[in-house]
Symmetry: C2
Subunit: 338 residues, 2 copies
DNA sequence: CAAAATTACTAAACCGATTTAGTAAATCCA
DNA sequence: TGGATTTACTAAATCGGTTTAGTAATTTTG
């Protein structure tokens, strides 16, 4: 069986307390005993149980990360950000993926809490079913949480960009390129980001005295095939067609471009397409994407940093809201409208 | 403070044992007490500590997953496979990313073991520095492990494809398309997969009586920019140029295609390019990629399933090697050579 | 040099669960 | 009816660490 602290203590002819002291590099033993114990530890390759430790010190040095989808370039980057930061600061990350199910989301949190993670970072679902009871409970328990998005009525730590402003900027960019009929392939209902981006889209139109046309707002699941389908459908309609489309994300934009190309519609000269996220692949796609950069890696990194700061500072539970900068990445999918 | 089993016991006027029995749905208490206890648990939203549980039952219901890079479409898919399966079977996953550093790899394993995961899935680095001591130790401790690749001299569970055969098939496919001068943008040294694919490449040439030309074998880090650089360099050389390139992975292939396009070389008509992995994006790229499909999701899923099977069956530590099928995905980056 | 302070060490309690062994009461059965 | 089982329950030990309180020995200090 695996070595325990008692085994080591016996072998070194000291008490468990002494071994614990050298393990934690505290003072209270002579150099002589310290090295004696260290030698035994080395010799038997003793690796203390973090489980037992955690039970005693009530800390697991693990955090929970709940995203919506693991294989999604945006979340992958974000994950890497939190992983890197956690790694640097000595924390492990327990992975959770809600896969757009509110029940799963709640269940994951329950599991993470039962595993006593020291805190959680969550990219929350925000549909009608979301009652955020779990958040309420976490906050009630004074649990360190950072939310990757804004949930109205809850005072939590936040790391995000200003989606409204970002969408506003994207649409303004299109308007500045002479576009007047601008459609929006909007995010799904369960997405808080989607709602905010839609808001920014509308505001930009209003501020430029452009009509908001319901036909031009089409909600789309945030994947390439859905962008493709929606593109095929919209651009086959017998209505006055848009000259530009602002997409919920790059994945959708790529699907849309594919659809347009198949329909023989030139991108960007007949229709301009704007994405969102700036995933790595946007560069390499048929028509390199003009898009808004979401600093996914930084969001992850910042969130982890903030969370761990809160963990180590649980006395002062002040709430921080970090809004990171977005920017427009100009490539080839948008052109001047004549 | 958070409720403990003792608190619940006191509140329900029973012993801790009784509470434990109802928590674990065992027999030994009357229906009356069971529902009494259940009511208290419900009322106080009691969530038992898996940490304490784990210490007692010596099981954490967590596994460790060690990959090389989190944001890498191949690993992201794979991760999702292991996550899904673990989720279904009631296990959590602790994430580890070695980022191509042997030291990090070893350190991660140490952390995972100290957290007492029930088993680990690893996509191992295989450079000269790798001495696999950690693997040796894990195996010695009779620790359930599944390796995503083949490490010679170690008898471990394996889930992988036959890389030699896959590369052989890819190159044969190029040969069948009339290509005789076929280059290989080979994987990095730290990659076992890379070594095997190179082997398959060579074998295919040999079996078809084609020369192996050292100039045609260029080792490349497995990212798009590296494929691009290597492409620029090779195709600017004053040598007899290849008519086809078999790339270590899709990322490299995409970079290469970009380089070729920039050099004014037509893909696939002047130079054919073959990738490896079949990442989702291969479809949407300028020249849709012809490639070999790595069943990343299935590899992950299978690995998790196998690992958990071994965990629950630790008595019979028989070793399983699962080799999954690959296949050629034909798109537009390869054409007949005239 | 004696009292005070420090150092080196340990026994025992504790963290929050499970499990074993044991007891009293209820039920079975012949 | 009365001994054997079964049922319902609990006290105490245990998992593998940390921490507190205490003791004996050594060092400091005025």
């Amino acid at each position: 069986m695996r070595m325990t602290i008692s085994d080591i203590a016996k072998l070194a002819n000291v008490s468990k307390s002494a071994v614990s002291i050298v393990l934690n590099n505290k003072s209270g033993v002579s150099e002589k005993t310290r090295s004696k114990v260290l030698a035994i530890i080395e010799k038997y390759n003793y690796n203390p149980s973090q489980i037992a430790q955690s039970l005693a010190i009530r800390e697991t040095k693990s955090i929970g990360l709940i995203i919506k989808e693991i294989d999604n370039p945006y979340f992958a980057k974000l994950m890497r950000g939190v992983y890197d930061e956690c790694s640097n600061l000595g924390y492990s990350v327990l992975l959770g993926s809600s896969e757009l199910s509110t029940e799963k989301e709640t269940e994951i949190i329950k599991t993470l809490v039962s595993k006593r993670v020291d805190g959680v970072i969550i990219s929350p679902l925000q549909s009608e079913e979301s009652d955020f009871t779990y958040l309420h409970n976490l906050l009630n328990d004074n649990y360190p949480v950072v939310v990757l998005g804004i949930i109205t009525n809850y005072s939590t730590n936040v790391v995000d960009i200003d989606h409204i402003k970002a969408a506003y900027d994207a649409v303004t960019y299109l308007i500045n390129h002479g576009h007047k009929r601008i459609a929006h392939f909007a995010g799904p209902v369960h997405s808080g980001h989607g709602q905010r981006r839609l808001e920014g889209y509308k505001q930009a139109l209003i501020d430029n005295s452009l009509q908001i046309d319901k036909n031009y707002i089409v909600p789309v699941e945030p994947y390439t095939p859905n962008g493709y389908e929606a593109g095929k459908e919209l651009f086959s309609k017998n209505i006055e067609l848009p000259t530009a489309v602002f997409c919920y994300n790059d994945l959708v934009a790529i699907g849309l471009i594919n659809a347009l190309t198949e329909l023989g519609i030139d991108v960007p000269n007949s229709v301009s397409v704007m994405g969102f996220d700036n995933i790595d692949f946007g560069k390499y796609v048929k028509i390199p994407l003009t898009t808004i950069q979401m600093p996914a890696y930084e969001i992850g990194k910042t969130a982890a940093n903030l969370l761990i700061k809160q963990i180590n500072n649980s006395s002062s539970p002040l709430v921080e809201k970090v809004i990171l900068e977005h920017k427009i990445i100009e490539r080839n999918s948008v052109s001047q409208n004549s």
